[in-house]
Amino acid sequence: MAITRREFVRGGVAAFTVSFAAPAFLSDLARAQGRSRQNLVVLYLSGGNDSLSMLIPYNDPDYRSRRPTIAIPAANALQIGSDRSGVALGLHPRLTGLRTIFNAGRLAFIQRTGYANSSRSHFEGTDIWSTADPRVPQGNGWLGRYLDTLPSPIDPLTGWSTAGTIPRTLQANRVGVPSIPTIQGYAFASPNTGTEVQYARDSATRIASHLPDDQPHLAFVNSSSQAALATLDRVAQVGTYTSSVTYPNNGFGQALRMIAGAMVKGVGTKVFWVQTGGYDTHAAQNPNQANGSYTTLMATLNDGVLAFYSDLLNQGLLNDTLVLQFSEFGRRINENGSQGTDHGAASVMMAIGGGVRGGIYGTAPNLRGTPDNPTLENSGNDVRYETDFRAVYAKVIDSWLGGDSVSILGANFRAGAPAIF
């Protein structure tokens, strides 16, 4: 039995065969794989997004009464219409860029996404969204399993994490996705100059190619060096990218700029990961103040996504790109004593791209806090899911990535999928 790369990462090792492919210098390999140039950018809002402050049912009387200090007044919400149940919805006032994208018909909100018996733990919740398996949230990620279906050999740059680590979502058996948070650091350095640099690189490459079966932990570390050495020349090309717009000078904005550069330079990546944190807003959310913490989160999100959208539009790549946003859970409906919100259940997903049929999908919760309210759970304290998040994944796998969602997700979730394409 071959225990593979990522099972090894999470599961520990007793017996293990190095079965992941050695990375090769194959410049157009990744792009040849899959069925097209289509990219997926997974956008993770880390900490549990209070989506009731992002997509606001501003006319619901319980919204205001249950959030006496943090409710956003109807007059301040950026109105975007009503959902099919007739609930009027508005965006957080700082999301003017997202409203522009929505008005262009390229942004879909999918309300009340989640799953039954939602975990309130950040770590378990993130694992569930990453593996698409609420029962046993272990092992590889849903996109890792997708990457594993691509023909061999799989180019390491097929995936690209802009975070400093590899998220579980991208953990795969047959390929070790690189994490490349910045281009500048992703280069070979040497204490010497001239031919010595090449001698050193040759030697480092040979040392990294030692993948002993009887020392899987050493094989794993060496495989990460190997993936770096095999990809750094292509990644360096991205450093020459000149964007058509100015991105915000923060980590999120610069990560999106790098992704646009990788797309324009055609390095072959199909799946990108980008994240932005701070969403665990237990205290002082202050969504109504310009410098309040939730407003700052919305500013970072809005300004980064708008720059990315505009850049891709200018580069003619918007139709090849899908941004899919999620967070590990939504938050409690009642605000707590600290003008914040505790861990809750269902939340909102967003899909953005040239191929997206924009609009408001699903129905908003009714926030009346009674135990018999079918749109809520936990005695009326949290939002209950309506659309299984795996149905959204199924739609993305089948209709965007050209994969087979039934085999990748282990069951058929197509029936409940929103028609976002």
């Binding site: 400093g164 680590t165 070979f188 040979r206 570390v221 914040g340 505790d342």
Partner: protein, 499 residues
Amino acid sequence: MPAGSPTMQQRRDPVERERVRHGEHVIEHLLRRAGFGAGQDEIDDYLELGFAAAVQQLLNYERVPDDVDQLIGSPGYVAVTARGQFLPRTVINDSRQRWLFRMIHSRRPLQEKMALFWHNHFATAYTKIAGALGAEEGARYMAAKPTEDPNQVRGQIELFRQYAVGNFRDLLLAVAKDTAMLVWLDGRTNIKGRPQENFARELMELFTMGVDTFAETDVYAGARVFTGWNLARPSNAYYTFSYVAAQHDTTAKEFTFPIYSNGSKVIPARSADAGMQDGVDLINAVAGHPATGPRLARKLYQYFISEVSDPDAGLIASLANTYYRSGFEMKPVLQQLFTSPQFVAAQNRYARYSWPAEFVARSIKEIGWVGFSVNDALGPMANMGQQLFEPPDVAGWDLAANWFSSGAMLTRMNFASQLATNQRFNLRDIARGGRSSPDALVSLMLDRLTAAPFAREPYQALLDYARAGTAWTGSDAQLLVKAAGLAHLIVGSGDYQLV
């Protein structure tokens, strides 16, 4: 068959054979695990003591003077870089530099190693404290020493040093009252009628019992237990823990697990004035919960013994037993761990993935430091995935193989290059002992850098590097190039990342 052992038995590499013959390998192993590695002088000192006495010296460090901070800025030690004054009490980058300095030069290495363990266990990030209280106050509550603070503020890392090998229950109680923690998990805003769940949840899920050992209702009850555990600001001079009786929820709290030794699961209703006892009762209960001892034992096993094989069930049970029997004391647990047969077993050598802090401190100790500033390690460490005082979330860093994304590994390789470049003259001087041949130089560098034994092919790759280019003369000019080049390749190798 556990990973690693065939290579250990064959010992292809002559340098390794020599080290084993002298018992150096066990001392080096001990110092990599209970500390941050060692230069040759330190290895010699501990070799003289022998393994058993070395363990005692590392554990009973109270006998060793805590004078390391006075050495900062002295010649002969790694440098720090100050912007104006060096202010580790109020400038977080200076706090980081001071901690790295201590990892490299402290004569109480286990104290620093356990402080790092607790920092990951009770993972608190500076940014949130600074966001709430301001940058200088943020650094203060993370890193100030009471002796240097006008109000004797004890920063969180000093708490971890104080209780490094101390009583875990006492540490939990101190953490529950720690200013940085009260900001980090929002305890400062936890008041009756509006309970704040953040601390109570992580107390059970992360600090003690672990996920799936409690119910959501326990979180709600736990939040009410800690209502009124807030902050005060005497004379507007500093923030400190304050039990605000008027904000405490005095009603009874029911849990799904026993709180008291008689099996009762209910913390009784108490008057507001007596209500602080609720939190003490809950902390006693979670420290003594049957899941806590084994969970701590597993974390310590992975930190000190092995991350590549499943923890030995017998040893875990035995360590947990020691934990409960001693009344939650960590020193006897660690004593038992370091003297266990598993600690020195051949298959557990080089069976951990070094944390970036371990990698950086060890490489500086082994390559050399004169003229190098720890400030130049801070950026690389962030890119390796570990910025001190800034864990990614309350669960701490993703450990073991998770450190080794390709980007993080490349950063380690490039740090090896940066350090070797900085230390090239020092390395050349060391390398003169190996000038007779490329083989002699490779052997000397491997010995100096205490890497895991290199297998034949990677060893050959090092040798070919040493031979490449102009014919071997062993001149100083050649050593200047090749010693730095080899240090870069060895410290940047996969083998060196394992400790």
